[in-house]
């Protein structure tokens, strides 16, 4: 509008050389669903920090016990209940890792522990190195959690998938069973199950899975039911694709996102239940330790030897928060509409 008449020369009024295709051009390269999800996940700072925290803790739970010459069950009553002491950091008062306990005494001197002997996380009531126990305990907790998630996926996906894929009477029958099971509080089932089986890594894992797979199966069923009637699946079916192809090419890949998200939340859930069981006396039995059993034991002497509970509690909190953050991040990345 601010064009003065002088600027407009008559030759400007010739037809312009341009094709209409120009405005139809797609300028951005196309990216696949998974690339897009990965890009979104990468942008989620919380989830990325959480991912590194988890990788670090997993790696450390295997490497760290090597730094100590003691095993998980090497008892020595002469050096029981030592507070944490870390070389180099012992001069810094407020870190509380100078070998002095909360009453101000130094049990390292009182108990004639050799000068060059350091217990980074202190020792427990039987003189076992807490450092080794915490990291081995982390291994056990993670083992239970991943095993539980794996079993949930296998059972849940199979059950939910079959139920939805075949539909009709099969679906009806299978869903009646799920409804009954779903009504039973998992807390009750898990406690009863452990009382019968005796606490152990496998029995705890199974107890967690006994109701855990139901959630997964419901998610998978809902997804498959939804997909089954979508045009691209119907099209593939009309073209004569066998069931195997339908499942592996269409149904499974499109359900995968929901499965991954659900499984990510199963892991902190399993860690929670494992520690819950430890607290009510049905957890991992000594000499084996898990994060839950260490925290539970530690709480019993919290007032005198806080270090016994605080270190495993810290590791557990980081793990739980990280898995939750990753779960949230994955959910937002894989299905922005599923935000809750």
């Amino acid at each position: 509008m601010n064009v003065t008449e002088k600027q407009l020369t008559p030759d400007l009024f010739r037809p312009a050389e341009q094709g209409t295709e120009k405005s139809d051009e797609i300028t951005k390269p196309s990216i696949s669903f998974w690339q897009d999800a990965l890009r979104r996940l990468r942008k989620n700072r919380g989830a990325m920090i959480a991912l590194f925290a988890i990788i670090f803790i997993i790696a450390f739970s295997f490497i760290a016990p090597l730094f100590s010459k003691y095993g998980i069950d090497d008892q020595e009553l002469m050096r029981s209940n030592l507070p944490p002491k870390i070389q180099g950091l012992e001069k810094i008062e407020f870190l509380g890792v100078n070998g002095v306990d909360i009453r101000g005494t130094n049990p390292y001197e009182l108990k004639n522990v050799p000068k060059d002997q350091y217990f980074w996380f202190g020792t427990d009531g039987l003189g076992r190195d807490q450092w080794v126990r915490v990291w081995k305990g982390t291994q056990i907790s993670l083992y239970i959690a991943f095993l539980a998630a794996a079993i949930d996926i296998i059972v849940g996906v199979t059950y939910g998938g079959i139920s939805a894929f075949y539909g009709g009477r099969t679906d009806d029958l299978m869903q009646r069973l799920v409804e009954v099971l779903y009504g039973i509080p998992n807390l009750v089932v898990i406690i009863l199950f452990i009382i019968i089986l005796d606490p152990g890594i496998l029995s705890i894992t199974l107890a967690i899975c006994i109701t855990g797979w139901i959630g997964m199966s419901r998610i998978v069923r809902a997804q498959v039911l939804k997909l089954k009637h979508q045009e691209f699946v119907l099209a593939s079916k009309t073209l004569g694709a066998p069931n195997g192809r339908l499942i592996t090419k269409h149904l499974l890949p499109n359900t995968l996102a929901a499965i991954i998200v659900s499984a990510t939340f199963t892991i902190p859930g399993a860690i929670f239940f494992e520690s819950f069981l430890s607290f009510i006396g049905l957890g991992i039995q000594p000499p084996t330790a898990s994060l839950g059993s260490l925290i539970s034991d530690g709480f019993k002497s919290l007032r005198i030897f806080p270090h016994l509970a605080l270190y495993p509690a810290a590791v557990m909190c980081i793990l739980m928060i990280s898995f939750n953050l990753i779960g949230d991040g994955l959910r937002d990345a894989l299905d922005p509409k599923m935000r809750r």
Partner: protein
Amino acid sequence: MEKLLELDNLHVSFQTYGGEVKAVRGVNFSLEKGESLAIVGESGSGKSVTSKAIMRLLPNKIGSIKEGSIRFEGKDLAKASEREMEKIRGAEISMIFQDPMTSLNPTMTIGKQIMEGLRKHQNMSKSEAKERAVNLLKLVGIPNPEIRVTEYPHQFSGGMRQRVVIAIALACNPKVLIADEPTTALDVTIQAQILDLMRDLQDKTGTAIILITHDLGVVANLAQRVAVMYGGIIVETGTVDEIFYKPKHPYTWGLLASMPKLNAESKELIAIPGTPPDLMNPPKGCPFAARCPYAMEVCLEHMPEAKDVSSSHKAACWLLDERAPKVEPPEAAVVGGAQ
């Protein structure tokens, strides 16, 4: 005649992750008392944004009026405070939204939703407001209004809901009613009923109407004047007859050509090739140049100014310049006996 509402050089922008989207880039129009004006354009042309800007209902942090004024009875709404706007919304200017299925609160009775505005603007008592609500429902042609006033939105059909929305909008006898695609989400038969109702109500109440639509059929039914919007600017305005029978802008030709006709020999619909411009980087020149079959070099470089065709008819196109070659509108755009 007295100008009720006057928009002058209105600019509206949205802040997005990708940058600033200039959705409205200098819109001018005016509305007289009791008049009905249609704003026509395809999606993304800025017509809905213009209407939300008048109501000052742009999404909070991201959308804002960058420049220009919205004069309503002498007052500039672009600079009005939220509190002042609350007094104007519903009482002086009200709005009907596109989808009646989502524009009513699902957990509130119809009556309460009609009464909300009445109680706020006219200080009515509960019983007075309720009586008025029943009368309004009767006015918009809902049977058994005494009963239906206590029912919830999901108990109404789509057409009935749009009637309720109209009743809510008209509750306080506003001077301007903005109808943002009021019939788009409805079945064709219901569309006609709603348009009849709106025309009927306008006769009764004398409310001025701004009708936002992409459907020229709707325009012919209801409006007296038409503004054609494209790429955030108004490319042509005029009376309904001028736009339908003497269109000057190639985009208007395209719109008319793509309209289905009853008497045409060819059953084929003609589409305008290409897509609307990217308003994050709007073109320097005419926004329609990239799709315009008559585009000249000047169109790509300079924004055309609105030129008077007649006292009521304006178009912003370089073809109207005396230096430009004479171009006749294509045959398909000639409305013989338009519906």
